[in-house]
Every structure is written in C-alpha cells, then in structure tokens.
Symmetry: C2
Subunit: 506 residues, 2 copies
C-alpha cells in the first residue's frame, strides 16, 4: 500500500539533479530568512523505515540553513524525566519559537509506529482504542500548532524489505557501525509487511491538510535529497502565499458576547462556617490530604489543580491551606503572570506544559491556561477566532493529561461584586496587605459583566468528566477553603487507580 | 568538633517557644513580601545527618511563606540528564529569580559529604586535590550568587550517634517508613565519627561571611524549628539593613578604561588563502572534524565553543563551515541576543548554564557570556564593579567546565575598521544581506575604540590554558574559516582523554 503512494521522481541526469539541489538550497536559505522575519515557526518531522537514511537526509537538508535558526531533536528513548510525564510533554516543550525551525528525527509518531509494533508482537493483541486515542492526540497536537501559525511538514522515508536487509547487512559487517542495527530493527525487517501495514495506517490516520505527509523513496540518496528539499521549499512558499492572502482579508466583526447558561447566578454565596467548624474540618482534611499525597506518590499519579477566580476571590488563601501540610518535595505552586517575551514567542499553552507535574507530583497553578478565554478575550489580547478555538484546545490538552493518568481539577473562586469591593477597600487600608491591590484590579472590576459572560461560557464549555470545574462559594473565606480542601480529598478518594474507597470499605 | 559549635538554645517553656515561633512566622511572611518587592533572591540550604529532621524542618519553615513565592528542590540522586552535565549545572539552572526563594533539601554539598564518605569507604583513599577543587567550586558558586545580590543561608542539622540510631530503629520498625532508612544510612551510623569529621571539614571549608553555616541541634524538633526560623528572620533583616546602608553610599567614579596589553594590534590581518586552497583545506578539515565528533561522542567529552568578534567579523560564516558536516543530533548552535525579561531576573551566567552541553555533545555559542565585559561594560548596562568582577567569575565557570571534562575554546573574530565598513556597505547594498545590518551596528561602530580597549583587557584576563582565546585574523574570509576549523581540530587532537595523537602515532 505504501509503495503505491511513493512518487517516482522524474528521471534526470546526475548533473541536473546536483544543480537542482544547489539552487533549491539557496532558495531555502532565503526562505528561512523570510520566515524569521515573518515570525513563523516551522516544524519538520522525519519518520521512516530503519536504515532508510533519515540521518543523512536531515544532514543534507540543514546544510542549507543558518545553524543559528534551527534545532534538531532526536527521538531517542524517553529519559527518566520524560517517562514520568504525559507522552506529548517532551514535544510540547520543544515546539519552536516564532521564526525558528525545529527538525524532529523521529517524533511523536513513535507510539503508533515502533512502540505499537513491539506491543503487538509481544502481546499478540491490537488495542485499537488506545491507538485511536494516540491518533487523536497527534492530530489535535498538530492542529493546535498549525492553528497558531506553525508550518508542519512531515516526511516518511521508505525503502523496501530487500533494500533494508542489504543495508543492515552492510552496517553489521563493519564493527564501527554494527551497533546501529538493533535486534528490534532486524525483527522489523523479518516482519516487514506487518510493520509496513502499521506505517500505512499511521500515515492515513494523520495525513491532514495542515500537516501533510510526503512519502519519499529512500533507495537513491541523491534523488531523495532533491525530493525532500524541493518539497520543503514548495510547502514553505505555498504557506507564505496563502498567509499573505489571508492577512489581506478583513477580520470578521466580533459577535456579541454570548451570555450562555448563567451558572454563576445559581451559586449560593450565603454558605458559611464558624471559625470553630473551620479549624476542626481543616485539621481533619489536611491530615487526610497528607495521607492521600503519599498514596499519589506511591501510585505515581500526577495531580493538576488550577485556580481561577475574581480578583480577591481567595485563591491565595485557599492554596495556602491546601499546601500547608503537604511535603514540599512533592508539590509545586506555579504563579501565572502576564507571559514573558520568550513565552510570547510560543503557543499560549507552551508555558504551562513546562510545568506539568511528574508522575506522583502535584502542580498547583495560580491562574491558568484559561487566561486565554478570560483576560485575553476580554482585553482583546487575542482574536475572537483564537479564543473561540481555545475551548476545544484546552479540552484536548486536559483529556491528554487525564489519559496519561493525571487527576485534573479546576476551581473557580466565586464572590459577588459587593464582597470584592469590601476586600479591595480592606486591603488598601491595611499596610500589610496593600501590596496585594493595584490600579489594575480596580480597572478589571469595571469590566465585571464582560468577565462574567466569559466565565459562564468557559464553565459551560470546559466542564468535563475528566477535568471538572468546581465553583467555590467564596464570600465566606472559611467555607471556601474547606470546600477546596474537601473537593480535592473527595476527588482523590474517588480515583479508581488509588482504590482508596475500596480499601476503606474492606 | 561539630558538637562544640552547636548553640544550646536558651531554655524556655513550651508555651513560650510556640509563641516565639508564631510571631517569627508572621515576621517571616512580612520579610518575604519585602524581599519580593526589593527583588532579592533568597537561597536556603538544608544539610545534615540522616534522620536529623530536614524534611520536617523545611515543612515547618515554609508554612510561614506564600507558596507562590518559593520552590523546594530535593537533592535526590542526579537524573540521567544531570549526570551528563557538569556537577553545578543542576544547581545553576535552579537558582532563584529576583524576589523568589529557593529551598534546597540537600544541595551542592553532596559531593563533599555523602559522596565523599562513600568513595573513601570503598576505595580507602582520600583524594584531597579533588575535594579541594569541590570546595573551591562551591565557594566560587556561592560568592558569585552573593555578589549578584542573593542572600544565602545554610543550615546543618545535627543529631548524635545514639539519637540517630534510635530514630533509624523506629523508622525501620514501621513498614510504612522502613524504606526511608537505606543501607548507606546505617553504614554512616556505624561509622558516625568518620562521617562527622567529613562534615566538620566541609563546614569549616565553606563557612563564608556571604554564605554562613548555622549548625542546629535537631534533637528537639520544636527547639530546632525556633532556632531555624529565628535565624532566617535575623539574617534576612541584617541583609536588608546592610543593603540599605550600601545603597546610600555614593557609587565610586568609574576609572578610565585601561588599555591593557594591546593584543589586537599585533594581529596580522594580511593573511589570506586562495579559493582553491580554501576548498581543499575545508574538505580535509571538515572530514577530520566529523570523525573527531564521533570520538567525542564515544568518549563522552563535551565541547564548548564561544564566538565573539566585531560586527560583520564573520562569526556566522565560520559557524556554518564548522557545523556543515557535523551530525546535527550531536551539536547545538545557541544564538545570544539581549537577555529576555526572565533572564534579566537571574544572574547573568544563568542563561548560558541552561545550554551547557551534555557529555559527548557540542555547544556553539554565537556571542557568549563575554557580553558582560564588552557590550554591558561599554554601554553601561552593568556597574564597573560588576564587570570587573566578571573576569574572575568567568574564569571560575570555565575552570569548572574544564574540570568536568569539557574542552572549552573561544574565538575572537578580528577585522579592522576599514574592512568592517566595506562589509557594512556591501550588506546594505545587497538585498539578500540587508537584513544582517541595522542602525545599531553603525552606532556600535562609533564606539570602536572603547570596544577595542574592552576586548584587549578581556583577552589578557581570560586567556587560560584550560579555556584559551584564539584571535582569528578575519579580513580574509577564507583564511578565517580555515583558521577556526583547524583550531578546533587541533584542540581535539591534543585532548589527552581522546588520545588521538597517540593512536595516530601507533
């Protein structure tokens, strides 16, 4: 199947080929400069059969590039660090900044290629649900990057069974290169047809207009090089052209803010606790959480908690009570401010990926990726198209985290407008707390209704069973803190992997 | 010896102690805010005997802190990533940003504490040269951070042999905690006196006024907690006071630029090569370098190459010819622009540490840490005190890298003023190269003499046998590129670990 798709290059003489490559190289160097100036990130993916020549082809391609503008990443087996994190983590943190080129020698396709083959050979079963999840993850990952303006060009280098066998033999005969042919390589050669079928399926499932595959015949190196560099140039040119046309189009008028279902109006803000009740419950829940933290650690389950809420809604206080008794070696609080200049050069989710916790650890985000559909939406820091797309992107990210075994919880710290004013005034008058309040807080307050609409829409569109929103009745601080603590404890006790509820019963 | 230094806390009642701790906690929270506003980074180090209660004490201390403002790092065994890099790498990249607190539960003292003990027990020899190198590294590391404005507070938690044995027994008796006592812990208990001696030496060798040790008796937890929090508060207060006094002092007048020894004037810029000579030599040297690169990889030697030079001095061209045939999976080119806002919040060396290569890899810096003594000095981006100190700091860093096994080379791409003007004009007139030249380049040119003085001083003060400067005669591009290639090849061939010259001879 794969073979049919391979384009046979027009037969040309050696000299012509060399000339073609040389002029394409010059052209590519010029395109790199244009892309840098335009601030467009470029992602080049190389996958293929063993010994098809990925390394050689990458080497040739990058000779045309300014080495200060690209990075090459090799898809070796994941390191310890990487194994402790969701599968996409190592790729997210390596997505290129605006105007840079990232070349991946093996990539996020490992899971649906060699890893899948190995699994199926060992266990003799095909878990198609798992495979489909991987395809979805991959497509969603690439789509997000493409939607954010990245160019993605993917190459699959193919050689046939006989050619591969010959190359392996040659490599094995030389003690200097023998180590490059693994047992797994040889196994995949013996079972070439099976492995080829897996690759064919992979290409079919992930060949998208925003990230197309080009299958390259790797038998003749020079022809393959010409094919690759020609494809890169052409796709980079096409993209620039389409982009310039798009920019020329008028931006659509923003639609009026949808009020959505008004979740916030149904929150009962009169709920409260006495100090005595608070102290008592806090003690019990913090102890319980301390125990659950060690269970998380033993079962290697990551926990991700996001805090959002009105200014002065009590995020800081809640986080403090949540972490008070936790072992500091097992959690991290990540304060989210306006993105730094480096962060601005990346996809808006990039900076959060960096902080996603290792297996068994807790990451608490004080403000989160939901900034995209709140402050960035309301203040116009991103386009309507961007924040509308963000609900889907965020759901996809949280699903990926949940699929990787993480518990994901999100808190909205809710207070009413009067309570906020009371707290603002209190802070202003208390010299110990005055630092907490700025001019900006008062300005944000004027946009209360716009934020309210955004929050309501966010709560509707991103409340999922795998990453639920918990709206916290926050007017009474005691009540709110206990509500947060209890929600975390309950979520962990319900976590089936921990099987704590079962153990309690027995 | 250690025991004598332990301060016996004044005996106070339990209630008094609790009260004391509570008020210190409040005070500490307030100090944290002051430090955040003042933008002062704080480093807290916890070392000590096994089971002395470091974890418990850190937990108690951080309860007083806003969790959004600190991070706790645990000194577990280094990960794969970390093992492939110089020993200080994992700590440099974790030094806190301005206004943040980093708490190290075990730290850079591992090498001169448990690691040393283990080594000496196994090999029955003491390598005091190596130990002294570690002390120097540590002192230089801490001094650099302190000079840059960080507060460093170090605690050593002590318990005696008997107490430790009792605690180990208790931990071992409970299956939930037994895993926490390792074979090594028990061995150190049996050889308590030896291990204590090592710790005593360590404390004596690294007890500096800018990073003092406080030895805390860990026998009674409550007393220890009071001692620790009290010490932190007091040292933070003292530092603030001293700092305010200093700021009030007048800054000294800058001294006139020293012209130093004029190395640059002795460079022969008439050296040149024909195109034919160039192509021939390039071919040979690139092939040789390709081979040496694989040798580096096999012997796990990191190679660090820094490029500095006049604008239009030919850095880019030289880097391109250097990397042309290298396997891209084994090298990285790091372009250095003005520091980002995140980088500005750290020590000026921090951002370079992030990119220091793994064992067997090559890092090529296009502009380097020498910006401190060139552009930052000339443009007044740092104080005279800061750039004067930088020569020593840079030498210390490069020595540390060399001691960790790295080959360190630095190139100054030298051209004269006329040649620069010629290249600037050429670039301006060539549409394919016009992007390379900016207004700033012309402005920098006006400061040629100031830069020249700075470069001369830099070459004199930072040319070391472990990290030499190579001044490249750059007026002729062919000559310059070959000079760079040959220098790298020769440096690697002279590298004794590779023992290539020996092999060639045999």
């Amino acid at each position: 199947m794969l073979k049919k798709k391979i384009r046979t290059p027009d037969s040309v003489s050696k000299a012509e080929l060399k000339q073609k490559i040389e002029s394409a190289k010059e052209h590519l160097g010029e395109l790199q400069r244009q892309y840098r100036e335009a601030g467009i990130p470029v992602i080049l993916v190389f996958e293929g059969m063993g010994a098809a020549g990925k390394g050689v082809q990458i080497n040739r391609l990058i000779q045309a590039l300014d080495p200060r503008g690209f990075s090459v990443y090799t898809g070796t087996r994941p390191t310890e660090e990487e194994q402790l994190r969701p599968f996409l983590w190592r790729y997210w943190v390596r997505t290129p900044a605006k105007g840079r080129i990232a070349v991946f020698d093996r990539s996020w396709y490992r899971m649906v290629q060699t890893d899948r083959f190995e699994k199926e050979e060992n266990q003799k079963i095909i878990n198609s649900k798992e495979i489909n999840e991987h395809y979805e993850d991959i497509n969603s990952f690439e789509k997000q990057l493409a939607d954010d303006g990245a160019v993605i060009i993917k190459f699959f280098l193919h050689i046939d069974k006989k050619e591969q066998k010959t190359r392996f033999k040659k490599l094995l005969a030389d003690p200097e290169t023998a180590w490059r042919v693994t047992k797994e390589d040889q196994h995949r050669n013996r079972e070439f047809e099976k492995f080829e079928k897996i690759n064919g399926e992979m290409i079919a499932a992930t060949d998208q207009h925003y990230a197309p595959w080009t299958i390259v015949d790797g038998t003749k190196k020079q022809e393959a090089a010409a094919h690759i560099i020609g494809t890169v140039c052409q796709q980079l040119e096409n993209f620039l052209e389409r982009r310039n046309q798009k920019t020329a189009l008028k931006q659509p008028e923003p639609a009026p803010y949808s009020m959505g279902t008004n979740i916030l109006s149904r929150i009962d803000l009169t709920k409260s606790l006495t100090e005595e009740e608070y102290q008592k419950e806090k003690e019990v829940l913090q102890k319980r959480l301390e125990f659950l933290h060690s269970e998380l650690y033993h079962h290697r389950i990551p926990l991700i908690i996001g805090f959002e809420g009105w200014d002065a809604g009590g995020k800081g206080g809640a986080i403090k009570r949540l972490t008070n008794r936790l072992d500091p070696r097992g959690y991290q609080v990540i304060p989210t401010a306006a993105p730094s200049d480096v962060e601005k050069e990346h996809h808006y989710l990039w900076r959060f990926w960096e902080h996603m916790p290792k297996a068994g650890h807790i990451a608490i985000f004080d403000r989160t990726w939901y900034g995209r559909v709140m402050v960035e939406r309301v203040e116009g820091f991103c386009s309507m198209e961007e924040w509308k797309r963000a609900y889907r992107e965020i759901n996809a990210m949280e699903l990926h985290l949940a699929n990787a075994g993480a518990v994901v919880l999100k808190f909205w710290m809710h207070i009413d407008k009067d309570e906020q004013e009371k707290r603002f005034t209190e802070r202003t008058n208390n010299p110990l707390k005055a630092w907490k309040i700025t001019e900006e807080d008062w300005r944000n307050r004027e946009k209360w209704d716009l934020y309210k609409a955004a929050v309501n829409e966010m709560l509707v569109k991103t409340s999922t069973d795998y990453a639920p929103w918990i709206v916290v009745e926050g007017n009474d601080k005691y009540y709110a803190r206990i509500r947060v603590l209890r929600s975390v404890v309950e979520a962990l006790e319900a976590e089936s992997t921990l099987a704590i509820s079962e153990r309690k019963r027995s």
